[in-house]
């Protein structure tokens, strides 16, 4: 039930402005904060090509790719969540709830254990196939039977598939300590290892995903009125659903392959946007992207602050932040009795 609030254009501008500000704050903090603090002036002069202490310069140069990677990953997750929630007409759709992450994990662990794949692009491919198959499977299980894919059936199907695939992951992992060692690190979502190489790998997927998502925005608005209505209004329902599902899974799978499973970002941002501004997907998509980027970098910084002297992986921070928000969403969406 989307309430079209009496918002005006300046309201959106205000919203975009606030998000950009947060994003900038996240980016600056992410570069300046760490085991070695770097003052803002140094960063500014580094960026503008000015004179910087060579040690500080090296630290900044190392932190910038991590920050850029975090921004891209956050934006991807935000858009991916908005797309999934929109095509399933379901407020709780998120890679971590739908079991899509576990599907990606399974394929990655198969790749490490049996196929000897360690390259980033190979893992992205595997994670994407795993995520896509799982998403289709879960949605299939949830939508059959009485009442279609409602929140509850979707969540249960996701959790059940997660459990079953988790057992498969363990079966592969248990006998082989090498795989366990490798995979253990992959299992917790973190952007700590982000390099320019990762950014370069993520960028094409990011570009394609975002482009497709933004193209679908207007049609998704119509789709929210129900399939029959959408057909009557001239939307290719099947095509739109396919393209946006492809974009959504592509975005989250590529992030998952490079950074590991980072849950709840895609759940939180679209909800905040819809709650604060509008349900218009043409606005929700870009705002979720900006917001997701800001949220992920800020969470990453928070992980570094809270986890001193080491750091807490960003996947843990978003999970802890996300759970209460999830409870709030469950209450707000007024689930029906069973």
């Amino acid at each position: 039930m989307k309430k079209e609030k009496t918002t005006h254009t300046y309201n959106f501008i205000w919203g975009f402005g606030a998000e950009l500000l947060l994003l900038l704050l996240g980016a600056v903090l992410s570069v300046s904060y760490g085991s070695k603090q770097i003052p803002l002036t140094e960063i500014l002069s580094f960026v503008t090509g000015g004179d910087v202490d060579s040690f500080l310069g090296a630290v900044i140069a190392a932190r910038i790719p991590r920050t850029v990677f975090g921004l891209l990953a956050g934006a991807s997750l935000g858009i991916s969540g908005a797309l999934m929630q929109s095509i399933t007409a379901n407020p709780i759709a998120d890679p971590s709830i739908l079991g899509v992450n576990t599907g990606a994990s399974l394929f990655v662990v198969i790749g490490i254990a049996y196929l000897g794949i360690t390259s980033g692009i190979g893992l992205i491919g595997l994670a994407f196939i795993g995520a896509m198959l799982t998403a289709v499977f879960v949605y299939g299980i949830a939508s059959v039977g009485y009442g279609g894919a409602n929140s509850m059936k979707l969540a249960l199907a996701g959790a059940a598939v997660s459990t079953a695939l988790g057992a498969l992951v363990n079966t592969i992992m248990l006998p082989d300590s090498h795989v366990m060692k490798e995979f253990r690190f992959w299992q917790v979502g973190s952007i700590g290892g982000g390099t320019w190489e990762d950014v370069r790998l993520l960028l094409p997927f990011f570009g394609v995903g975002i482009f497709l998502a933004l193209c679908c925005g207007a049609s998704l608005n119509v789709l929210s009125l129900g399939d029959e209505m959408a057909v009557a209004l001239g939307v290719h329902v099947g095509l739109i659903r396919l393209v946006s599902a492809f974009a959504g899974v592509l975005l989250c799978a590529s992030v998952t392959a490079l950074a590991g499973p980072i849950g709840f970002v895609g759940l939180m941002m679209p909800h905040l946007v819809r709650q604060l501004f509008t349900g218009d997907m043409r606005i929700v998509l870009p705002m979720s992207a900006l917001g997701g980027a800001a949220l992920l970098t800020l969470s990453d910084v928070a992980g570094r602050v809270l986890g001193r002297p080491g750091e807490l992986e960003v996947g843990i921070i978003t999970a802890i932040l996300g759970a209460p928000i999830f409870v709030w969403i469950v209450w707000k969406s007024k689930v029906k009795s069973i």
């Binding site: 459990t163 006998p175 253990r184 009795s337």
Partner: protein
């Protein structure tokens, strides 16, 4: 209008009842056979006569040890745990009216697991303290989920959804602890996460037995109310079922039952989740489905243990084998529901 003779009616009603009774007997026989198998087969195989003499305390040496101290506790504890998971899973599924809503799916056992992993990896404690901590944490997490679910009509749905949210969060925490723990402990913790009979001892039996008997007894007592509640809360109330009391009582009993079993064997994946639907398939709509679920649970655990010890070269914990059964079941559910969906459409 056609009249139905009472005799006819009686026959129709009895037919189902008889079928269910027959199934109970049949499953009990299977349990017995698998139980014998568990005592006989393993690294070294023994004949029934040997097993019997060892059980009576007549033999000595490695055989007596293998059977008396390794296989017998596995048999007893595994059986109790399987029964506990089966009954508690069935209770959850029928209370929440959803075949997927078993305690291992909706975050109840995840609380226990997270606590146990925390004990083993972060605090470096294992054994009875970790088990006790796991039970308390499991109940605590569920308490929080229940509190957050509020009251009223949508209670069940909210509980399932919030449980799943918690499950996702707890799983992230568990993965993180596995990452931070020392590599040596991770194996132990991971095996514990998937449920295993490998470390059970005879000393685990008394507590597990007493708790299982009491809570399962309570559930069997409430069973006839549960049957009525399948008709929906409104009908059940109109027929005189105290639904609020029944719900709280059953939830608590089922929780304690599954948390206790989890604390001894770890969460043996999919047993709670599969037993109810399998039992329901064997004897649909019967009052004996609860007992059947328990027996199916035992069969799953015994069967998986036998398979893991005798089929694969790597000895997988029993939970991995049962967990694998979950995937084909979901596929089956998908195909099956598809057919039904067409019919009702």
């Amino acid at each position: 209008m056609k009249h139905i003779a009472e005799e006819n009616l009686k026959q129709i009603l009895d037919r189902q009842n008889r079928r269910a009774t027959l199934c109970v007997i049949l499953l009990a026989v299977i349990v017995l056979l698998l139980g014998c198998g568990m005592l006989m087969f393993g690294n070294t195989n023994y004949s029934m006569a040997e097993v019997w003499s060892y059980l009576l305390g007549k033999g000595s040496g490695s055989g007596a040890y293998a059977i008396g101290s390794v296989r017998l506790p596995k048999l007893v504890v595994g059986g109790l745990a399987g029964f506990a998971f089966g009954v508690s899973g069935y209770t959850f599924q029928s209370l929440l009216r959803n075949p997927l809503a078993s305690p291992d799916i909706i975050g109840v056992t995840a609380g226990s697991s997270a606590a146990a992993v925390f004990c083993i990896l972060i605090l470096g404690i294992s054994g009875a303290v970790a088990s006790g901590f796991a039970v308390v944490a499991g109940l605590g997490v569920t308490g929080v989920i229940l509190l957050l679910s509020g009251r009223g009509k949508a209670f069940g749905s909210r509980m399932i959804l919030i449980g799943i949210g918690f499950q996702a969060m707890l799983n992230a925490l568990i993965s993180w602890m596995l990452l931070k723990g020392s590599e040596y402990d991770v194996g132990t913790a991971l095996r514990w996460l998937r449920g295993s009979l490998n470390s059970v001892q005879m000393s685990d039996v008394p507590v597990t037995l007493v708790v299982t008997v009491i809570t399962a007894g309570l559930l069997f007592y409430c069973n006839r109310y549960l049957q009525m509640m399948q008709l929906g809360d409104e009908y059940a109330t109109a027929l005189g079922v105290p639904i609020q009391e029944t719900r709280i009582c059953c939830l608590l009993a089922a929780l304690i039952l599954s948390a206790t079993a989890t604390s001894v064997t770890g969460p043996i994946a999919s047993v709670a989740f599969l037993s109810g639907p399998i039992a329901g398939r064997i004897a649909p709509g019967s009052r004996k489905t609860m007992a059947l679920s328990g027996l199916v649970g035992v069969i799953l655990v015994y069967g998986a243990e036998l398979v893991s010890k005798n089929v694969f070269s790597t000895s997988y914990p029993v939970g991995v084998i049962t967990g694998l059964l979950g995937a084909p079941y979901l596929l089956l559910l998908l195909l099956n529901l598809n057919k039904k969906g067409e019919k009702s459409a």
